[in-house]
């Protein structure tokens, strides 16, 4: 809590990194408790690293040994040097045990004086790296507003690279702070993902103008007050954890300003402004994709090949159709998997992404590729000619989407069909066209993969299903008329 002697005056500065949350806060235990044991130990060791220890000093034995009495009774006696603390966690690393002991040591022992906001942010982002399916992400497209100024004459020297705003982390955060400071108090944490080609920005918002808010410490771990923004490398998209439809919740108490949703909207509006520069203004456009999985977003709205080629066209994205021009074998005699593997070896850029795919490629028996040579695989289960044909057709519609080789599961697919009911019976011309909109929602761990399975089993006819069911549109929200997606509605 705030030091009573310090002056409390409203400021526009951001919340300080070293603002400590009392370690007795129950929600803190919960937030840190989500992490695995190894993650906790690694985090603690990172905090104790020589470069960082000044930012996250552990609780050490006070120099003056005046009130040493109650120290003895505590379960974790304070260490004298940082090296001692470090050894403690290295010991944890060596032996096995539950994560409880590590968590208790952090909260009740070495950081008993409180966990700083920055530490909490790091713990949250670590959790995100370990659990990429933990949050719902919405992809937004960054586009420039003032493109009209371009002259037609300078096409020769035109630079064809996309409109990716170049930003410097500190400048961007300062600009964002400048935008939202009068309205929202926030804490920013910017960090690079360990697993994905992403940069995370974690914003914690609070509606107090004071450096040390008087609210209960519980709110520091309140998930509704935390906004994540992820910037993928080299592509004009960004992902946010903010839900796009701010449906007014009737049950929320307090004024509008207290509602975290209002604060979230303020932050969202500020992001494109913070990315903009003079003569270079950006705006965010929705891209109709919301998914619970970061790899999905990276595949469908990422820097790679799969962004604009999905469904039936994923064979092109994965280069499963033809091999390298140096391959003497005619391409229809080589299996798709082999093509993809060869492509993986050859491609130097985007190698990280590709390696990931390869390791996720279990040699599943009973899923033969469409061009598998007879007898090339000893463990192929004999299939009836009917189901074999179905699989071939399904492969031609779905490509490699929904198969084990390209994991990009959509957890939810919302479709609105806007077909005219009258258009089916042309006979009676008198009847006014009644437009009946039908909403369809598919949910599951992998919707497109599920539809593919159904097609392979013969439940749905793969030749007749519309392209939005094969994942070709790469969106989770669509308006469909006549089997085709309407772009203007979204």
């Amino acid at each position: 809590m705030a030091d009573p002697k310090s002056v409390r005056a409203p400021t526009t500065a951001s919340l300080p990194n070293n603002l400590r949350i009392p370690s007795t806060t129950p929600s803190l235990t919960k937030t840190l408790g989500r992490l695995s044991r190894t993650a906790l130990i690694e985090l603690a060791l990172y905090w104790l690293d020589d470069r960082n220890v000044t930012s996250f000093p552990p609780y050490l034995q006070p120099e003056d040994e005046a009130n040493n009495d109650d120290e003895e009774t505590l379960p974790y006696p304070a260490a004298e040097t940082i090296a001692e603390v470090r050894i403690e966690y290295e010991n944890f690393q060596e032996r096995k045990g539950g994560k409880r002991e590590v968590l208790e040591r952090i909260l009740e022992g070495d950081w008993r004086h409180g966990i700083t906001l920055r530490q909490l942010a790091m713990a949250d982002l670590r959790y995100m790296d370990d659990h990429p399916a933990g949050l719902r992400w919405t992809a937004m497209e960054i586009s420039r507003i003032d493109m009209k100024a371009k002259k037609a004459t300078d096409t020769q020297t035109e630079d064809w690279s996309s409109n990716i705003p170049r930003m410097q982390a500190a400048t961007f955060v300062r600009a964002l702070q400048h935008e939202i400071a009068p309205l929202v108090k926030a804490h920013y944490h910017l960090s690079r993902s360990l697993k994905f080609p992403l940069t995370f920005l974690r914003i914690f918002i609070v509606d107090s103008p004071y450096q040390t808010p008087r609210q209960t410490p519980e709110i520091f771990a309140d998930a509704t007050r935390i906004i994540y923004v992820a910037f993928p490398d080299s592509c004009p998209f960004l992902y946010t954890s903010i839900t796009t439809a701010p449906a007014a919740k009737t049950g929320s108490t307090g004024s509008i300003a207290n509602d975290p949703r209002t604060l979230q909207r303020l932050v969202r509006d500020a992001i494109p402004k913070a990315l903009s520069r003079p003569q270079e203004r950006y705006t965010l456009n929705p891209t109709a994709l919301t998914a619970k999985n970061l790899p999905t977003l990276l595949a469908l709205r990422g820097p790679g090949r799969t962004t604009a080629a999905n469904g039936a066209f994923s064979i092109f994205a994965d280069a499963a159709l033809e091999g390298s021009p140096l391959d003497p074998r005619p391409s229809n005699t080589v299996s798709a998997e082999e093509h993809m593997r060869n492509g993986h070896e050859a491609s130097a850029p985007l190698a990280e992404e590709d390696k990931e795919n390869i390791s996720n490629e279990p040699q599943k028996p009973g899923r033969p590729s469409k061009k598998r040579q007879l007898g090339s695989k000893p463990d192929t289960i004999k299939l009836s000619p009917n189901s074999k044909k179905r699989r071939l057709v399904a492969a031609s519609r779905f490509g490699t989407t929904g198969s084990s080789t390209t994991p990009a599961p959509l957890d939810r697919l919302d479709i609105r069909l806007l077909d005219n009911a009258a258009s089916t019976n042309d006979g009676d011309a008198d009847s006014a066209p009644t437009s009946a909109a039908v909403s369809l929602t598919f949910t599951g761990s992998d919707v497109i993969g599920g539809i593919r399975r159904l097609a392979e089993l013969g439940v749905v006819d793969p030749e007749r299903i519309p392209s939005w069911m094969t994942g070709e549109e790469a969106a989770s929200m669509m308006f469909v008329r006549g089997g085709r997606r309407l772009r203007s509605e979204v």
Partner: protein, 308 residues
């Protein structure tokens, strides 16, 4: 294997495991030999000697009939491959399998790029559909699907080279420059589109290859930790990497904390450079980095001449 003899719950016999391992290794070996045989046989069939020999009328008729399907397939394939290697951009037809597509015939363009290691990268594809523009008789091309990395703006390229008159009321963001041009009357230039697109893709590969080669010269990225012994690394560079996948900006760091950052142009020239030491910007090093033509391949030579 040998599963029937083992009861559930019993730990696997080590000898059995060893045999299993051996069988697996043998199978893998058989597979590699089979693959090799296939590559060799098709390569043999597509050699010019055999192909020209088969085309001679004097060749035995029976032999020709026996061989013909395989030989023609191999011959056709090698012709296709020669085109892909020589021209780098080839076209092919593709049928859209979607039942609701208004026109299922698509034109595919395949772009092949040869990387530094002599291998070809995964081919890039652009699929174009033909659509009738508003108030026009002929059909015009539109980009339908593509596998070009998103940092190359296919939309803007399309706006310039494959202009498509926008219908009234509809205003797409990407067609912004298009409307200014009053592009309705402009002819589409598919060759120009593919040429520029291929140039961009190749430029990206050139940039990544340049960064890769610099890293190799420094001995970075190799796990054996020989970076200190590498002769170039007497400069003391501890890290050099592209800041993003696009490989437009490269960041380098010296062991004494000096950092540099430079921008690579499409043709492999250091366009701009910033170098910081403890006292701020170091103009001398910056000038060396962009000077003398600025080729990225000779960057270390120029840096060395400054540091000594």
């Amino acid at each position: 294997m040998n599963q029937s003899t083992r009861r559930p719950g019993e730990p696997p016999d080590p000898q059995e495991q060893e045999l299993d391992e051996e069988i697996r290794a043998l199978r893998a070996e058989i597979q590699t030999h089979k693959n090799r045989k296939r590559i060799l046989s098709t390569a043999l069939l597509s050699t010019p000697t055999i192909q020209s020999h088969l085309q001679k009328p004097t060749t035995l008729r029976t032999l020709k009939e026996d061989l013909s399907p395989l030989a023609t397939a191999a011959g056709n394939h090698s012709v296709t491959n020669h085109h892909r290697i020589a021209f780098g951009a080839t076209a092919f037809p593709f049928k859209d399998p979607s039942p609701s597509a208004p026109d299922e015939n698509l034109l595919g363009v395949r772009i092949d790029v040869c990387a530094r290691n002599g291998r070809f990268a995964k081919p890039y594809y652009v699929l174009l559909k033909r659509e009738r523009a508003h108030g026009e008789k002929g059909k015009r091309f539109r980009v339908y699907r593509h596998t070009i990395p998103t940092f190359i703006s296919v939309g803007r390229l399309e706006g310039v080279y494959l202009s498509f008159p926008s219908s009234e009321g509809e205003s797409d963001e990407e067609e912004g420059p298009l409307k200014v041009l009053k592009a309705g009357a402009r002819k589409q230039d598919l060759r120009g589109f593919v040429r520029e697109l291929r140039r961009e893709v190749v430029a990206w590969h050139v940039r990544t290859d340049a960064v890769e080669s610099l890293r190799e010269k420094l001995g970075l990225g190799m796990e054996d930790g020989e970076s200190a012994q590498s002769p170039v690394n007497s400069l003391g560079i501890v890290s050099l990497e592209a800041t993003a996948i696009e490989a437009r900006y490269v960041r380098m760091e010296y062991e004494d904390g000096r950092v540099g950052r430079f921008k690579l142009s499409n043709s492999g020239i250091v366009e701009r450079a910033i170098f910081m030491n403890d006292h701020g910007r170091d103009k001398k090093v910056e000038n060396a980095m962009v000077g003398q033509g600025g080729r990225v391949e000779t960057l270390f030579d120029r840096l060395k001449s400054v540091s000594t």
